[in-house]
């Protein structure tokens, strides 16, 4: 079995979730609690990768961070960093695609926390940061955890943006879905393909069950 692909997928998903979660908590809090001009536009842009074809997302990432891209050429020329077609690119592609899912979950969880409790906390002497840490975060935690699990599962399954932006390099960017796709192209690899599909189903199932329990704890 292609353990390398499974391990790579898990690694990408873990990195993705760990990078996306703190960002999503911050963004989700701002979206849930603050009112400002252009909020709807920002929200729409953040949610775009959820509805756009993943290949489009990958292509846009390539335009932005590719070696000749807007930001990528700068990074390459001045810092010698090449992002596209690397493990980092696979993480970025998965993060961009799963970010809206995590944000959505975190935002809803934070909206469910009664702002009156935050007000009460401040009246008892807790600063806004401490109020966030002791009141908002623990009360929104089940929803945040649910979002984390969903984001993790989405990154495991990421295909379109990854293959466009990170390529299909064995041992570096060939994650589980890409490995399944690669195996399908080769005759006689049906049982190997089926095993990878089974692993993929099990991981997704565990993630959904995990997310369900996280929500139920509420």
């Amino acid at each position: 079995m292609d353990y390398q692909a499974i391990w790579l997928s898990v690694k990408v998903a873990v990195f993705t979730s760990l990078i996306a979660l703190p960002l999503a908590i911050g963004t989700g809090y701002v979206l849930a609690r603050k009112h400002f001009r252009g909020k709807a536009v920002i929200e729409a842009v953040l949610h775009l990768p959820m509805v756009m074809p993943p290949v489009t997302t990958g292509y846009l990432l390539l335009l932005l961070l590719g070696t000749n891209g807007l930001l990528g050429s700068f990074l390459n020329q001045w810092l010698g960093i090449r992002i596209a077609f690397s493990f980092g690119a696979a993480v970025i592609a998965a993060a961009v695609v799963s970010f809206p899912l995590i944000i959505r979950s975190v935002k809803v969880a934070m909206q469910m926390v009664d702002p009156g409790l935050e007000e009460a906390s401040k009246s008892l002497g807790a600063s806004p940061v401490k109020t966030f840490l002791f009141i908002t975060l623990p009360l929104a935690w089940p929803g945040i955890l649910g979002g984390f699990v969903l984001g993790f599962a989405r990154s495991l399954g990421e295909f379109g943006a990854t293959i466009t932006f990170a390529g299909n390099i064995e041992g570096e960017t060939r994650t589980l879905p890409l490995a399944i796709y690669a195996k399908m192209q080769v005759p006689g690899q049906e049982s190997e393909t089926f095993l990878l599909v089974a692993v993929s189903v099990v991981i997704s199932f565990v993630a959904i069950i995990g997310s369900h329990f996280a929500y139920q704890k509420k």
Binding site: E119, A120, K122, L124, G125, S127
Partner: protein, 366 residues
Amino acid sequence: MSGCLKINITLQRPGFSFRINETFKPGITGVFGQSGAGKTTLLQCISGGVHPENGYISSNGHTLFSKSDNVNVPSHKRRVGYVFQEGRLFPHFSVRQNLLYGTRFRKNNNTGNALERMTGMLNIDHLIDKYPGSLSGGERQRVALGRALLASPEILLLDEPFSALDQELRQQIIPYISKVAKHLNIPVLIVSHDLPDIIKLTSRLCLLSKGEVVAHDHYEALMHQQYLFNILPAADALNSITMEVKSVNPEDGMIVLNGFGEGRRVNVTFEPGVHNYTRGSKMKVFLRPDHIVLARGRVEGSSFRNQLEGRIVETFDEGPRLLCHVDCGFPLVAEVSRAAGRELELQKGTRVFCLFKTLALDAVQV
């Protein structure tokens, strides 16, 4: 003055202008007004939730807000305890954790003793390990009160603390608030649209109407101002009289109160065993103006236990009703229909008897 809360602020909102210039002394002040009068705005300006446009707020000599000096202390640094309508206990914390929450952020607390004293005083020691979800409305409010007090506030604000409670629970929590306030020497502002509840706690009232203070005085003095009746629903007006227990008759469950001269006796019922009254103790008696019957002479052969003779000092026309301010040795406001007033020729100087049933009286020990 030390310990005082001084406020002189203005605030403009579409369709609402708020202007207040008052000093609140230590002790309970009832803030009363109809909805939209600015009661909650006042509390939020003090707590820091709403920023006034002009003026200043100072507590115990410390400036909390000053437009001219560009000072605006954030709410968590103001030391303003706030007890909300719904309690707002943190659901993921036990009662103990809720009570101690504020002590984490404010130093110089003798937590151990203070917690025990507070739980004892509020009768919540048996709830200490429970979670808010399993508490009754009255218990929740008591915990919220204890939590606010343990954070050592310099000002305590109670925003409609009774509105989520039924009548029975209200009567239960009022003595606790009263007891706790006596131990504090800080300004306590209690907002309510229910006047009877407020005046069971304090006689010091601040009346708000359309964003302005119309009066700030003792209720007994305000009771005889016509504008009180302009902002009060008829059923909320209440006579409040302080009297002394003259004799107790446990067999009939009756106490006789005395005040303002020998002839001014009032009979009040009580439940023997539940309440214990002793001769000489002071009581506050409450009586609704529309529960008083005015008669031109003493009525014989009736069940009215209380018949007080007095003289009308003032009458006010209030639509179909006539408010008669009667001097019975102490001031009493009686409400009759205008037609009845005309038939009985009730006017300034008329001698009348104020009749009321013993059961119409509500009394609390002070």
